[in-house]
């Protein structure tokens, strides 16, 4: 028996969400009394792979030839490697969302997504986010093997140094998708795994005013986000839309500027640990959900906040 963890890489590098998945897998392995085997697809150097050992992986199988977006091949190879695994852990990224359901069917294994807790015992029973974070569900696996996809940034990192053995393997089958290329904004922090998210709404009046939002995000090392109407009218790209029908946010700190706090907005962001609202309207619903609030004009408060944070960082 073992716990298998899929360790996703981006351009040859792991991210915090990858190490979080390994940390989760290793805590699960402690509960089950077993060890952690990691699986890496695409090309990743030995130097990067060995980092998985810091979070508890005792072995990593690297298969450079498989494109992670090819869910047909990825699920096949993971299924082959999981004969011995009772739990298979993923971080809930876009790619994981394509691989885990296929794997579930292949292995006749329960697939539980949006996971936010460890299992209580060797009978897999865990907490997951449900109803767009308006509720938490306790769910039980009915199958011998269980696939757990954790909600990024909801578990954290736990260091647990292991000597990590690297094994390289090959897989030649290919699925039927043809990958034509990617476009990524370099240097941008992705919303799903950002520790701090700076988000702004219609209160900002127009796209020309986002300079200060980006600057605030920059000084905090944060990702930028926006409310739905802001992306619908084209002030910001759709990829920044957060909330019930956009991206979910589980940040350590979520700063909402000129956002009223509609139920659909809060539904997607309120699992963040600390929320700050900045709004001119003392009656804005966001203040009911926030931990800290400033009643004031964003155009005055935000530049001051940037100055204060710069001072603090120095």
């Amino acid at each position: 028996m073992s716990v298998l963890v899929y360790t996703e890489s981006w351009g040859g590098n792991f991210r915090k969400s990858t190490f979080e998945a390994v940390s989760y897998a290793s805590e699960t392995a402690k509960i089950l009394g077993t060890n952690v085997v990691a699986l890496s697809l695409e090309d990743v150097s030995d130097e990067e792979l060995v980092k998985l050992g810091s979070y508890g992986a005792s072995k990593v199988v690297s298969i450079p030839s498989v494109n992670k977006g090819d869910s047909q091949s990825a699920s096949k190879i993971i299924a082959e490697l999981s004969t011995d695994a009772s739990v298979i852990v993923f971080s809930g990224t876009h790619t994981a969302r394509m691989i885990t359901p296929r794997l579930s069917v292949k292995l006749a294994a329960a697939c539980i997504t949006n996971v936010i807790s460890l299992t209580e015992s060797s009978e897999i029973t865990i907490k997951r986010k449900s109803f767009s974070t308006k509720a938490i569900e306790i769910i039980k696996s009915n199958t011998e093997k269980t696939i757990l996809s954790i909600s990024p940034n909801s578990f954290g990192l736990i260091e647990n140094q292991m000597d990590c053995l690297i094994e390289r393997s090959d897989f030649i089958e290919k699925g039927s998708l043809i990958f034509e290329g990617q476009e990524t904004a370099s240097g941008k922090i992705s919303i799903s795994e950002a520790e701090i998210v700076v988000s702004a709404g219609r209160g900002l009046k127009g796209p020309e005013n986002w300079g200060m939002i980006e600057e605030l995000a920059d000084v905090l090392g944060a990702a930028t986000a926006c409310s739905k109407p802001v992306s619908d009218i084209g002030w910001r790209p759709h990829s920044e839309h957060v909330g019930q029908t956009g991206k979910p946010v589980t940040a350590d700190l979520y700063i909402a500027i000129g956002i009223s706090g509609a139920i659909q907005h809060l539904a997607g962001v309120n699992s963040s640990k600390v929320m700050v609202a900045i709004n001119t309207d003392p009656e804005a619903p966001f203040f009911k959900a926030a931990d800290y609030g400033i009643i004031g004009d964003a155009f005055e408060v935000v530049p001051k906040l940037i100055q204060e944070i710069k001072k603090f960082k120095n």
Partner: protein
């Protein structure tokens, strides 16, 4: 082009979520049900494809008779016919299994689901269908053009997008971007009238295999309340975030 659109009937986004029967069942009383917002983008895109290159749009949902108003709405928006699998769905696997059985007995060029449903948020139905029917899958799809026997797709990836070509038939998990918000269609009077006479067939489930059991639900903990900082003392906020909340 034969397109199957899988729709889920979900509580309206403004709904307050409560549970009954000792916190084991979602409390439907007073709840308005709507087409899952993610599914609406796929439905609209399917109708647009049909309008430009011809074909037929079928909607399928797994649910008891109470979901029929939502199916009628999909028909009013422009789907040609509908299928309801007569089963109270319990987990992603059981839903995907029923839809896949229907796909195997019929023939579709394209199967579109939403990226996830806004109630249980499993996000697994599209992937499970693709595995059960052995078809290629693109989830978080934000762009789709049909070119002969293949599809040109764009999928959202973490921090960007990826361009993909896939043979048809295939399975797509859709979201905003497939069409834009302002392209979504509101049923008009004529559509609503026509929807009443469009075919809605009811099929019995083939089995109800569940891989998971829902034990209970809880509401997230309430916040302690908002601490206000004066707009003229912004440095206090930085102080609180550092010393009290310990997040910066």
């Amino acid at each position: 082009m034969n397109i199957l659109v899988c729709i889920s009937s979900v509580p309206d986004t403004t709904s307050k979520i409560n549970f009954t029967e000792n916190n084991t069942k979602f409390d439907c009383s007073g709840i308005q049900f709507v087409i899952n917002p993610y599914d609406e983008f796929g439905l609209t895109k399917s109708i647009m494809i049909k309008e430009s290159i011809g074909g037929k749009v079928t909607v399928i949902t797994v649910g008891d008779a109470s979901v029929e108003p939502v199916i009628r709405k999909a028909l009013a928006i422009g789907a040609d016919d509908a299928v309801r699998v007569n089963m109270d769905p319990n987990d992603s696997f059981s839903v995907a299994n029923e839809i896949s059985e229907y796909i195997k007995q019929n023939s579709f060029d394209l199967i579109i689901t939403g990226r996830e449903s806004i109630d249980y948020n499993g996000g697994a139905v599209s992937g499970m269908i693709s595995e059960m029917t052995n078809l290629p899958l693109v989830n978080a799809c934000i762009g789709l053009e049909i070119e002969g026997n293949s599809a040109k797709l764009v999928r959202e990836i973490d921090g960007g997008k990826e361009m993909i070509t896939s043979p048809l038939p295939m399975v797509i998990g859709g979201q905003k971007g497939l069409v834009l918000e302002n392209e979504l269609r509101i049923p008009n009077m004529r559509g609503i009238m026509q929807a009443r006479t469009k075919p809605l067939s009811v099929v019995e489930p083939t089995g109800n295999i569940m891989y998971t059991t829902s034990v209970s639900f809880a509401k997230p903990e309430e916040k302690a309340g908002c601490k206000f900082v004066d707009a003229s003392n912004v440095s206090d906020l930085v102080d609180l975030l550092h010393n009290e909340a310990k997040v910066i």
